[in-house]
Amino acid sequence: MADVNRGNRPLSPHLQIYRPEFTSITSILTRITGNALLLGALLVVWWLLAAASGPEYFAIADGVITSWFGDLVMLLSVWALWYHALAGVRHLIWDTGRGLDLKDAESLAYLVIGGSFVLTLVTIVLV
């Protein structure tokens, strides 16, 4: 176990060094959408609790979730949910060792972005 030169090693270049690429943006969006879904999920849990608490409290929570702000959060959450789901499928494909070369990675990125918008539209129409 060599412990020479600890703390004085060159750092590998981080995000600000690289030019953003289409594939790298679709990757960071996976993380952003996944974690941002917390807001929508907590709203859903709160709405359920309100429904269990009685009509008066339900009216408040339902009012918030169907207001323009609630609608905006829910719309963005639906898109984030589908985006994160498709990007997750991409990870499951990558885990098998497939689709890792540049050409496939780029077409997967297009599929994830396009698919997330299509599924969001389908959700808006059906729900």
Binding site: A85, T123, V127
Partner: protein
């Protein structure tokens, strides 16, 4: 010491310490969510903005209630694993430990609250 194998001696000394369990739990929950999320979106979604009586009657039925409960359980456990990776990437020291503990409490807390609400709606 001579009873230790070479493998045993180096286990956990890599930069990642452990991680295969974490990766596997994320893989497993993501497959679960691939089934649950579409079911959840199209059973839960239509109920937002519906009258109180209709919502209560709807979640008293087994299918919407079980789908909602499972999605919230698996979803928040998946979130707990994901946000842990996020925190480990960007936050260091005591703040990292504190944030991971807070997010774990929040995840289990949300699961607890949702299950209580669903049980009360069902009974």
């Amino acid at each position: 010491m001579q009873f230790l194998t070479e493998r045993k001696r180096v286990i956990g000394l890599g930069s990642a310490k452990t991680g295969t369990e974490h990766h596997w739990s994320m893989t497993l929950s993501s497959y679960g969510l691939l089934i649950l999320v579409p079911l959840f979106v199209f059973t839960f979604g239509p109920m937002l903005g519906q009258p109180y009586d209709e919502v209560v009657a709807y979640f008293a039925r087994p299918f919407p209630s079980v789908v909602t409960g499972l999605t919230i359980i698996v979803g928040f456990l998946h979130f707990k694993g994901g946000v842990q990776t996020l925190i480990e990437d960007y936050v260091h020291g005591a703040a990292r430990t504190g944030l991971i503990i807070a997010m774990t409490c929040l995840s289990y807390g949300a699961i607890g609250v949702a299950l209580y609400a669903l049980a009360r709606l069902a009974l």
